[in-house]
Structure formats: C-alpha cells, structure tokens
C-alpha cells in the first residue's frame, strides 16, 4: 500500500539508472540519514558510543570490505584481522610522523597502504581458489600479526609493544583517545561508513563490479567472455583491503585508542567479520550493515539478559553466551542462508503486493 512504485514514471535514462529508482526507498534513505546525522548525535553518550555505535559502524566498514571480496568477487578470505592490523599500524606510524596532513587523509592513506598489502596477499588467488585460498589467506593473518609483534619499527620500539593513538583533532575538535568528543567521533565514523557504502553500491553495479560478479559465478566462463581474472581478482583484493584498512585505522585510533596486535586483531576478528557478511547477506551492501548491527548487538543483549535478567555469574554467562551465539548462527544459516538482506527483499516484495498474496 505505502510501498508501491505505481505511478512513478521514468522519463529519461538517468532516472532509469538511478541508484534508488523507487521514491519510497529514497525517502527511507533520507530518513535514515537524518536520524544518523542529526538525531543520534544530539542524544549520544559515552556508553552507547563505545559499546554499540562505534563497533557497529567500524565493523560495518570492515564487513563492506570483506563483502566486496567474498560476496561480490567470490574469494573467501580469513585475513581480515591481519589487514585491519595493517590499517591500524599504518595510521599509527602516519599520525606520529606526519600529523599535519589531517586525520581524514591519514585514514585514506592507511587504507591505500592496506590495499597494497592486500593485493600482494591476493596474488595466490590467481592460482588457487575456494578453501585452499581461505587457508592461504590465513598465512596473511598469522604473518602480519607476527610481523607487528616482532619488528620494533612498527610500534616505535616501545617497551610494551602496544600502540597508543596520539591526540588528533579535526576542525578543532578532539577525536582520538578517551578525551575525544563522543558526537564528533560518531559523526566522523558515520560519515566514513555512509560515503563508502554509497561508493561500494556504485562500484558494484558498474563495470568493475560486474567483472567481479562474473568471476564469482564462474571464473572460467568469465575469462572466456573477456573478463581478465588478474585484474578482476586483484582489484577486488585491493578495494576490499582498502575498506578493511580504513576500518582498522578507525578501530584503533577512534574506538580503542590503544591496541596490542595479538589481542586486538586476532583470527576471531576475521571470523566475526565473515559471520557478519554471511548473516547479513553475501553480495549486498545493506546486508553488510545489517549483519554488523546484528552481531554487535546480539552478544550485548545476551549478556544483559543472562547477567541482568537471570543473575547468572559472569563466567558461566560467558560460556552460555558463546554457546548461544554459535547456536544462533547455525539456526540462522538453516533458516535463511542468504542472510538478512534476503529477508528484507522478501518483505519488500510482500509489501508491494499487499494486501494481495500475489
């Protein structure tokens, strides 16, 4: 009834090719943007920022990156944690060496550095695929974390091996570390996610994105019709690592403030982001955001219910939590293997036909 495109006529080609062809979609997007950028910053507080909003936004950015690689180009990667570490350590070195460049360019540059590293580790994808590739990307994960632990240059020879974000301001407002202004931190990260989600949506429907999808669906057939696997696969690795690198940079500098490579970027991060895109929906920008939201909030909710609601002690609660998360993931995969994005699509279809069943 409300969600129906009847009467929306397209009179020229650019309308036809619009990113959101249905007017209602545009209104929803505008409303979401309004809530994100106007309402939330007014009511934000420290707890909400650090426990929910920042993790959600940062993981959403990482999930977008992994979804480009795994969802659009079909290359399974388990090196996300390692690539996030590359982003984090790049921005650390940059913030110490050239703080005058400004925070946003530094994040972008760390993204680019990660893209270069990612492309390097993407090279095996030209020879191997599937689970062999997934295991090969684990090499990146373990090697990079080891490198950041062992080579003093990366953490400026500091005795603890930790990196701590130096204070940085953006337009005169503090955005890193514990003194950062919550609303400013939030707006900064939210803008990154919004801009790069839009970018991902555009790149995915353009020539490059179509090449990726052709490779994903069947690489030999794609090669026969003239898609170059070398360019398509490596560009997917580069763009994906660019996103993940930026996510890692923001993760370290804005959210954590200080980080230690073995804990902050271990293999569980890789799995977490992979879960996000599977539960959200492979090959969907919306899915990356939904999956990140789901997996960030579910453990918090579970913990609150268990500890707050039933008064379980926290050690047992942690075990029950991990069990429940695992079980929920299995149930979710059984019920809807195509993820939350598919559910959303089904809802939209139903809404268009409502009140008729078909």
């Amino acid at each position: 009834m409300i969600y129906r495109e009847t009467g929306q006529f397209k009179t020229n080609y650019s309308d036809d090719q619009a990113l959101f062809p249905i007017a209602q979609d545009r209104y929803v997007i505008l409303a979401v943007l309004f809530i994100t950028f106007v309402l939330v910053p007014v009511f934000i507080n420290e707890y909400w920022l650090n426990a929910i909003l920042l993790p959600f936004l940062i993981y959403a950015l990482a999930a977008l990156g992994l979804n480009i690689l795994t969802g659009y180009c079909g290359q399974l990667s388990l090196g996300t944690g390692g690539f996030m570490a590359v982003g984090a350590f790049s921005i650390y070195k940059l913030m110490v060496a050239v703080p005058e460049l400004g925070f946003i360019p530094l994040v972008i540059i760390s993204g680019l550095i990660t893209a270069a590293v990612g492309t390097l580790f993407g090279l095996p994808s030209l020879r191997i695929k599937g689970f062999y590739l997934a295991v090969a990307t684990l090499a990146a994960q373990f090697f990079l974390i080891w490198l950041f632990n062992k080579v003093g240059w990366f953490f400026n020879y500091n005795a603890t091996g930790m990196i701590t974000s130096p204070p940085m301001t953006l337009f005169g407002v503090m955005i890193t570390g514990p003194e950062g202004v919550p609303a400013a931190k939030y707006l900064l990260v939210a803008s990154f996610v919004a801009v790069f989600a839009l970018f991902a949506k555009n790149i995915a429907r353009g020539r490059i994105g179509r090449n990726w999808m052709a490779i994903r669906d069947m690489d030999i057939a794609a090669e026969l019709i003239g898609v170059r696997p070398l360019l398509a696969k490596l560009s997917a690795f580069a763009v994906s690592s660019f996103y993940i690198g930026m996510a890692g940079a923001l993760y370290f500098s804005v959210w954590l403030g200080s980080a230690e490579p073995t804990e902050a970027f271990d293999i569980n991060q890789s799995f977490l982001v992979l879960f996000m895109i599977i539960i959200g929906g492979l090959g969907s920008v919306l899915g990356s955001l939904l999956g990140a939201a789901f997996l960030v909030m579910m453990p918090i909710l579970l913990k609150n219910i268990l500890v707050g609601g039933f008064g379980t002690n926290s050690a047992l609660a942690a075990h029950i939590e991990i069990m429940t998360v695992g079980a929920l993931i299995i149930i979710f995969l059984i019920v809807e293997p195509h993820g939350l994005a598919r559910l959303w699509r089904i809802v939209k279809e139903k809404l268009r036909l409502w009140p008729f069943p078909y």
Partner: protein, 298 residues
C-alpha cells in the same frame, strides 16, 4: 649432525600429531564436502569428556574411553540430526560457517559441562625421553611422540582397510564421489554422515588424547585445528596419505625453520611458517600433494 637429526625427528613426530587432527578434516571433507572447522574443538571436547569421566565419575581408563566414544557417536548423530540434515545442498561457505558455529557451541558446552581450568590427562602413555635411543644413538626422542606416531600408523591402516574393503567404506567413497548417484543406488546419506562424523569424532578423541597428554587439556587444544590447516592444503583436502605426509613435511619444515632461521628474525615463526610453506607449495600444485586433479568445465 646429531642435533640436526634430533630436530628432524622431533619435527616428524610433531608432524604426526598435526596429521592426527588433519585426518579428521579429510574424513569429513571426503564424505560430505564439508570443511569442518570444528575438528579442533571436537578434539578438545573429546579430551575434556574423557578427563571428566575419569575424574568426576572415577571410571577406569578403558571404560572412560568407551564412554567418550559413545559420547562422540551421540554427538555425531545430533550434529547430523540438528544441523547437517537441514543444510543439504547449501553452498560450501555456508556449511563452513555452520561448522564454526558448531565450534562455538561445543566450546561453550565443554566448558559448562567440565569446567574451563587446565586438566592433566594421564591414561598411562609412556612419557619422557626414550632411554634406548639416547643410549644407542645419543638422540633425544620423546616416548609420547613415538607412541603417537605408532597410533597414527595403526589408525591410518585401519582407516585404509575400512575405506577400501568394507561395505560401509565403499558406500562412503560412493558418497564422496557423487551425492546424487550414491542416493540413486540406495545409499542413505544420513546414515553415512552419522558414520563419518562418528569416525571423525573418534579420530578427534585420539588426537585429543595425544595432545592432552602432551600439554594438558585446555582451551588452546582447540587451536591445533589451525595447525592442521596448512597440513591439509599441503596434502590435499581429500587424501588420507596426504594428511600424514603433509603433516610430516610441515612438522619438519617448521622445526628446522624455527631452529635455524628463527634466531635471525626474532623467533616464534612457527605460527606462520607452515602457512607460508604450504602457500609456496600451492603455487606449483594448486590441488595439494595428493589432492584429486582439478578438472574444470564450463
């Protein structure tokens, strides 16, 4: 020279331990095409159950082992019933993620049931240096590792006979070859999956006993799955001998690199060296050492 032989030998023995875990992966991958990430946690779970039976219920070793085998079979049945049955015909990546979910569930369940503190596992496997080797060749060899190697050899022979000669083994190979064709000649997929997950559970128990005797039963036991992955890609996902030989290559490579290369780059390279070795290898043979030849059709 003696030192080098010692390093190689200890690498070989460590490799056998990796092979034990990799074997479980291969079995399940062969029979159902599932990349079972939970194999390491299954080893942990089996070891925890064994220790639990022995300590909490005071069972003798043989009864505890029998009981644990029973638990692993029940677990296989549950996994098939609650999880695999509903995921037939899904993409491999979905199945892979489901097994990671399973790993979480087992990890939580094991901790809740048996507690998360480090436990000692002692079922009477000889430990310490082998005096005979020390006296005769002046080489240090850990008895436990020799025992593990012998067990692995027996296990492989047993599995080979099981796969090649028995009726169930033939059915397993048929399923591995082609699910639909196997169904059409009257092989029940569900039964086969229960059997193969049970066998993988028993292999996990053996791996759990060996690793548990070596370093205590604790959470880090589940991480040996990560050690087994390079072994798998080196040996090929579908090959039982590949898992053994791959394990030995990785074990030796890792130890030799750690001893002779490690000091120059700051040590602790064990974590990633195996992966790099396997990766370099894959560039020349994408299907692994003994993997089936990849034939691609459009």
């Amino acid at each position: 020279m003696t030192f080098f032989i010692e390093v190689v030998l200890s690498g070989l023995m460590a490799g056998v331990m990796y092979s034990l875990v990799a074997l479980g992966f291969v079995l399940i991958f062969k029979a159902s095409g599932i990349f079972n990430f939970a194999q390491g946690v299954m080893a942990l779970f089996a070891a925890l159950t064994l220790v639990g039976f022995m300590e909490k219920f005071g069972m003798p070793v043989w009864l505890a082992i029998a009981g644990t085998i029973g638990v692993m079979i029940a677990l296989a049945w549950l996994i098939e019933r609650l999880m695999l049955r509903h995921l037939v015909n899904q993409e491999p990546i979905i199945l892979f993620m489901a097994t990671i979910g399973l790993a979480y569930v087992l990890e939580g369940a094991g901790d809740i049931l048996w507690g998360s503190d480090v436990k000692l596992l002692d079922i009477g496997i000889p430990q310490g240096a082998s005096d005979w080797m020390l006296d005769t060749f002046d080489i240090y060899v850990e008895k436990l590792e020799v025992f593990a190697a012998v067990t692995a050899a027996i296990l492989v022979v047993f599995l080979a006979v099981f796969f090649q000669k028995t009726r169930i083994g033939r059915a397993l190979r048929a399923v591995a070859d082609d699910h639909q064709a196997a169904l059409s000649v009257g092989i029940s997929l569900h039964t086969i999956w229960v059997i193969v997950w049970s066998v993988a559970g028993i292999v996990a128990l053996v791996a759990g006993i060996m690793w548990g005797s070596k370093s205590g039963v604790q959470f880090s036991l589940s991480l040996i799955a990560l050690k087994a992955l390079p072994v798998l890609i080196l040996g090929g996902f579908t090959s039982v001998p590949g898992a053994i030989i791959g394990g030995m290559i990785i074990g030796v490579g890792e130890k030799v690199a750690e001893v002779y290369l490690g000091p120059f780059v700051g040590g602790a390279i064990e974590n990633w060296f195996a992966y790099m070795l396997a990766l370099a290898f894959l560039l020349f043979r994408p299907q692994g050492l003994f993997g089936e030849r990849i034939i691609e059709r459009v």
